[in-house]
């Protein structure tokens, strides 16, 4: 296809797609009671309006994000006449959409520079998964901030794979400040960045020299930069907004009950135990399988074989084993797919890939059907419907995860040649 010969055309098309979505969204908002704009975007813009008035963004209920987000969206709070106010209102969406395109561009750069992909092949994969994916364009133009996470993760990878430890650390600190989960990437990157990748060769093989050998300049720079940016950002926000900042951005996620139905295999159990009906406190240990895999086992076994596949497996595991899971979480691993898919057994063996896709979609469909029965028909579908659907979806995800792990062990998504 000729269009993939030219990066300019691919990115123009991606931008045009988002522009169309933006304009259409504005039209739908103005002409239908079913709004295109995401409810979360109303939360962000309300918060931005409070900030513009010199108040705390946490004055808005359910604003559970860093104040940075409200500050970034300050232009949406600018008052103006009708055409002007429509434009300012869309500022945040445009920003998220732009971040999307930038994230895609970074991934293409990495595939070409570090993975030796021909430009055309890189564009093909990134377009299919991300740039031209209508779901991605839809989510960011509806005003969901997940698009920002995409660009942060892509930038983190870019800085890492092009060996810029300080920049990578700074980006990681920012990403964790934004949304806690990217801290999992820190572990993989640290383990991956050994002396060999720094270009020096380890001397000696004693335990002490191995331990000392672990401390490489890059690892130190990366860690210090990450901690510095994370601490600095939180300190600034804490000084600005005090306890509400800490509560809404971080502690809320530790104390929330999460009794409402969602894709997580834990959701029925959490409802049961929140209502005081559980005999054991098994869910209190839910973080153990999740964190053991994500923070210890996956990075340790896979990170040096394939960093991007490890990060994908980590994200996949984090989402699959999490106590809450909604569809926006699925976006988290989408940005990492272009690195993994080209050499994965899901593509090499179409039967396997298609089976995985069908099972995953079937898991979703089963759950959504039960969810619809509950939410809209008022049927009591918690047990066995939602309960079993949640466990089945979990099983499918775990099976796919097993495939990713095996591929990662085989070096899928690994850099073939070291960067000059």
């Amino acid at each position: 296809m000729a269009i993939f010969d030219s990066p300019a055309r691919v990115f123009l098309a991606a931008t045009a797609l988002r522009l169309i979505f933006l304009v259409y969204g504005g039209w739908q908002d103005a002409h239908s009671t079913v709004k295109y704009t995401d409810i979360d975007y109303m939360v962000f813009t309300d918060a931005a309006r409070y900030v513009a008035k010199g108040e705390s963004p946490y004055t808005r209920d359910t604003y559970r994000y860093t104040p940075l987000l409200a500050w970034m969206l300050l232009p949406t709070a600018w008052e103006g006449a009708t055409p002007w106010s429509t434009l300012t209102f869309a500022f945040g969406k445009a920003l998220f959409a732009l971040s999307d395109v930038l994230a895609g561009w970074l991934v293409v750069q990495l595939l070409v520079r570090c993975y030796q992909f021909p430009v055309e092949r890189a564009l093909r994969y990134v377009s299919a998964v991300w740039l031209w994916n209508p779901m991605v364009a839809n989510i960011s133009t509806r005003g969901s901030s997940e698009g920002l996470l995409g660009v942060l993760v892509a930038a983190l990878l870019w800085a890492t794979l092009t060996k810029k430890p300080v920049l990578a650390g700074l980006i990681l600190g920012l990403a964790v400040h934004f949304k806690i989960y990217p801290f999992i990437y820190g572990v993989s990157i640290l383990w991956w960045w050994d002396a060999e990748r720094d270009g020096s060769v380890t001397t000696g093989s004693g335990l002490l020299s191995k331990a000392l050998g672990f401390i490489t300049p890059s690892r130190v720079k990366f860690t210090v930069a990450a901690l510095a940016s994370f601490v600095a950002l939180n300190l600034v926000m804490y000084l600005q907004h005090g306890q509400p900042f800490l509560h809404h951005t971080f502690f809320h996620h530790l104390t929330r009950i999460d009794h409402r139905h969602n894709f997580s295999p834990y959701s029925t159990l959490l409802y049961l135990s929140a209502a005081g009906g559980a005999e054991t406190r098994f869910e209190a240990l839910a973080f153990l399988p999740q964190l053991i895999l994500v923070v210890v086992a996956l990075p340790l076994v896979l990170a040096k074989k394939s960093l991007t596949t490890t990060m994908l497996a980590q994200t996949f595991t984090f989402v699959t084993f999490n106590k809450v899971c909604t569809s926006q979480y699925f976006l988290w691993y989408l940005i990492l797919l272009p690195f993994y898919l080209p050499s994965s057994s899901l593509i090499r063996k179409p039967a396997l890939g298609i089976s995985a896709a069908i099972l995953w979609i079937a898991g979703q469909a089963l759950w959504l059907h039960q969810g619809y029965n509950l939410e809209f028909l008022g049927l009591s579908s918690f047990v066995p419907g939602l309960f079993l659907a949640g466990l089945f979806f979990f099983a499918v995800n775990v099976w796919i995860l097993g495939i990713i792990v095996r591929d990662g062990g085989d070096g899928a998504g690994e850099i073939t040649t070291a960067l000059k």
């Binding site: 409802y271 209502a275 028909l377 008022g378 049927l379 009591s380 918690f382 047990v383 990662g408 062990g409």
Partner: protein, 527 residues
């Protein structure tokens, strides 16, 4: 103690002088077809110690109870509240917070085990703060509470056990009068620290079969008084006035019934044309029920209020904690949303606004919402066919999660909201000269003191909607649906998943270590 009995006869009701006979010691009525209000005012020192303790901590305390039965509200008793018990309370000192009121409430509500009753140990727990739109009028209490209360049996029992025991008028009459409240359509209890008196009013909107037959004795003590009135009401000369005429007497003082005629401004007015509404939830309600308020279009004529007033159709919702509105969704100014629901604006809201919490975590009783409703565009008088279709306003709401149950469902009881016209005027009419004035209804304080209210009539067998809330189904020892299966099942599946991923990782580590050089050939034959 002061007692006031008022019978209100409709204009076309028959009356024969023989039906009300006054002697020096008593007044007897026979077969009177009328609405009736009994009001008893008791001094603080005449009350039992337990009740006095609560009142002495109160700056003001107003209880409003309305039956779940539908009833016709007659002038001058035309104001309404949603069925259930409403408590409006202002403590005397801001720091005083005792458990006495909560204990009293629990006694007079006597909730059953299954009732979604929001208990309080201190009033800050379960009470909400009404919106302070009109503090300058001082017409709103500081704290407010509501609970469903289909019958006031426990309140009557409380009166039997405490007030009657101490009553100087003797036990039997006190018991009879308390029992009479059981058939009342609405009951008001008022106390404020300036008057130091407790007033209990019962309203019966219509007479029992065969009419009222009763005998009112002259009080035994000279401090006590029994006032009697047999009246009819009609519109006054001014639009804000009510004119009443009939017979009055003070039992034991007056020798004969005195004919009388008087008029006064009244904030609660009646609509000249019959007007009604019904409330329903579209089925299936799911977790996001939508409340529909339907009115025949013919009901929606602007009331005959003074010309200089601005009138708006309003509804005031009393939502128990299980059901709630999203304030951000409902406070929108988006004309598309408002038009599609026939709403004009959300005017006021108060109470529990949490969008995420399950019901068992919420401590406060719920929330109140005042909406201004849209009215159909004025039809040309020349329109040849009268439009008989209904005009419906809808309010999208959401349900909270309730605790698990054996059936997988629980019932939520949603009282019908009140629907009324509010006409505000700049005029300086003083409404409080009205001997039948009624305030502290929750919604009245959201308007200025000169506002005239015209209630629409709720028509239905029962003014409470029941919603089936789906919950987690948990059976006892015998059933399939047990908590331990959920616990074990979740635990087993997560553990298996965890072990599977670890096993996959172990195989990778086994064949190629944890280093950076993957062994190319290791897995080919296994795939």
């Amino acid at each position: 103690m002061k007692r006031r009995i008022t019978f209100i006869q409709s204009v076309n009701a028959s009356f024969d002088p023989e039906q009300a006979v006054l002697t020096t010691s008593s007044l007897s009525v026979r077969d009177i077809d009328a609405a009736r209000e009994d009001r008893i005012t008791v001094g603080l020192d005449e009350l039992p110690e337990e009740l006095r303790a609560v009142l002495e901590q109160s700056h003001e305390l107003h209880l409003r109870w309305a039956s779940e039965r539908s009833f016709d509200a007659v002038v001058p008793f035309s104001s309404r509240v949603s069925p259930g018990l409403h408590v409006h309370y202002t403590p005397l000192g801001s720091e005083s917070s005792s458990e006495a009121l909560c204990t009293l409430l629990r006694t007079i509500v006597a909730p059953s085990k299954d009732a979604q009753y929001k208990n309080c140990s201190k009033q800050e727990d379960a009470f909400i703060t009404p919106p302070l739109l009109s503090t300058r009028f001082g017409s709103s209490a500081a704290l407010q509470y509501y609970t469903r209360l289909p019958s006031i049996q426990p309140l009557v029992k409380y009166i039997h056990n405490t007030v009657c025991d101490q009553s100087r008028t003797g036990g039997r009459e006190c018991h009879t009068r308390a029992d009479a409240l059981l058939s009342a359509d609405s009951v008001d209890i008022d106390y404020d620290s300036t008057s130091h008196a407790l007033t209990v009013s019962g309203l019966w909107a219509s007479s029992p079969t065969g009419g009222w037959t009763d005998k009112f004795q002259r009080p035994a003590s000279a401090d006590d008084q029994v006032e009697f009135g047999l009246l009819g009401a009609e519109a006054g000369l001014e639009p804000e006035e009510i004119k009443m005429g009939g017979l009055l007497a003070v039992v034991g003082e007056d020798e004969k019934l005195k004919p009388t005629m008087f008029s006064f401004p009244s904030r609660h007015q009646s609509l000249t044309e019959p007007s009604s509404y019904t409330v329903s939830f579209a089925s299936p309600t799911g977790l996001h029920p939508t409340m529909s308020i339907s009115m025949p279009r013919s009901s929606l004529k602007r009331p005959t209020a003074p010309d200089d007033t601005t009138c708006g159709l309003h509804t005031y919702l009393t939502l128990p904690s299980v059901i709630f509105g999203d304030q951000y969704q409902l406070a929108t100014t988006d004309p598309l949303f408002l038009e599609s629901h026939n709403l004009l604006a959300l005017q006021a809201l108060a109470g529990e606004m949490d969008l995420e919490a399950p019901d068992w975590v919420v401590q406060r009783w719920g929330s109140n919402w005042l909406f201004e409703l849209a009215t159909p565009p004025e039809l040309e008088e020349t329109a040849n066919t009268p439009d008989s279709s209904n005009w419906t306003a809808t309010i999208p709401l959401h349900l909270r999660y309730l605790p698990p149950s054996e059936t997988g469902h629980r019932t939520a009881y949603i009282p019908w909201p009140v629907v009324f016209w509010a006409c505000t005027s700049e005029d300086s009419t003083k409404m409080s000269v009205n001997p039948f004035d009624r305030t502290h209804l929750g919604w009245d304080s959201l308007f200025g003191p000169r506002t005239l209210f015209y209630q629409l009539q709720p028509t239905g067998d029962r003014l409470v909607e029941e919603i089936d809330v789906p919950v987690l189904r948990l059976e006892g020892e015998e059933g399939y649906f047990q908590g331990k299966y959920i616990e074990l099942g979740t635990c087993a599946v997560i553990s298996l998943g965890f072990i599977w991923v670890l096993w996959r990782l172990a195989r990778v580590a086994w064949s190629s270590g944890v280093g950076s050089k993957p062994v190319e050939t290791a897995h080919d034959k296994k795939e």
